[in-house]
Symmetry: C2
């Protein structure tokens, strides 16, 4: 039901806290709901009345919990659409680290980018709703900046490791910003063109950027 496997993860549990499925013998009262349940309740309300018109009170009421409790599951209303982002991010970090050094830097990044954003067909509608909220609701787009920083850091660390620099140097940061830019631009396009293939857009985006610098774009 809860469906989040996380046995292998140890640290890095920032957003996703213990789901109720784990039978572990914890003392104390059981959690009455989960992030996933709250997310579903919230998404329903967002779809019906829009993000801004939906108050936290309404979400809490719809989920049958107190307003105060809501803020124990999500640090803010803006965090609702992000799901298990930190987990996904960790996945990308591992994937990049596992990439053989024979693969050229930008190829490695391009492939990881595509892989990171692959979703099973069954989850596409949910993913689309998520991204629609994140990229189209001004307050959420603004909030996303903070998540994007963590995302970029993963790229920057990979570039740094590969090129013998420190992650905070200019080159890794610039590349990380650029790659994130490709991702966001591809998503924007994907939202506007539902028939488009996200992976292809990401691939294309990276190649367009390449082309721009190679001078083939005038």
């Amino acid at each position: 039901m809860v469906g989040v496997r996380w046995a292998s993860v140890q640290g890095m549990v920032i957003l996703v806290q213990a789901p109720a499925a784990v039978p572990a013998r914890h003392p104390g009262r059981k959690r009455v709901t989960s992030q996933t349940e709250l997310e579903q309740a919230a998404f329903g309300l967002f779809a019906a009345h829009g993000f801004e018109q939906t108050t936290v009170d309404e979400i809490a009421a719809a989920a049958g919990i107190g307003r105060r409790t809501f803020f124990r599951y999500f640090p803010s209303k803006n965090d609702i659409p992000w799901g298990a982002f930190e987990l996904e991010l960790e996945r990308m970090r591992v994937r990049l680290k596992a990439c053989p050094r024979e693969v050229p830097l930008m190829d490695a990044i391009r492939l990881a980018l595509i892989d990171f954003n692959r979703v099973s067909p069954a989850q596409v509608p949910l993913h689309r709703r998520r991204m629609e909220l994140i990229l189209r609701v001004p307050a959420l787009l603004a909030h996303s900046t903070l998540r994007f920083t963590a995302w970029r850091q993963v790229i920057a660390e990979f570039v740094a490791q590969r090129s013998g620099r420190r992650p905070d140097e200019l080159a890794p940061q610039v590349i990380a910003h650029a790659v994130l830019g490709v991702a966001v631009a591809a998503y924007e396009h994907w939202l506007d063109h539902p028939a488009a293939d996200l992976g292809a857009l990401l691939d294309d985006g990276m190649r367009q950027l390449d082309a721009a610098f190679s001078g083939s774009l005038r």
Copy 2:
């Protein structure tokens, strides 16, 4: 005193409204302060207690106006550090449009980027405080997203015009995101290394990105 010359500007007055200096025969009560004055009062408080610890009431009190009036000068507390950004942006738009077609696309952008971010030595300290707030205070960094969108749009429109595409196509958007990324990364570096030259960092950033795609970075 007010010091904002704007006689030559006509449209595009979004943030900067009529300063009291213009003698124009407007009926009605005169404005009692200006964005610049409020900005100064606010910056003082920010430096003393930090952005988040400073309330709008305190800023208003320091400037000798009512809290309600503050919100007639700035749409939100988050907008304080942005100064005449819209005006600057318009300057960049004009500058790009004036660039001869002989100049290759990415060179034109690189030069405009450097030019856009040139500040006179006397204004460097203020500019640094501005950017420190915008890029280091989480709430302001988040808010900046909205301004950055407008900034990217200027780049995207230029690329589109040059390459015979529409601004919302993938290539212009990707390039715009990447260039903004260079700018932000350069500013981050500049904030960490006060001795560095911002123009050089921007130039370097663009070239690093170029190098990454040319495969010279491994």
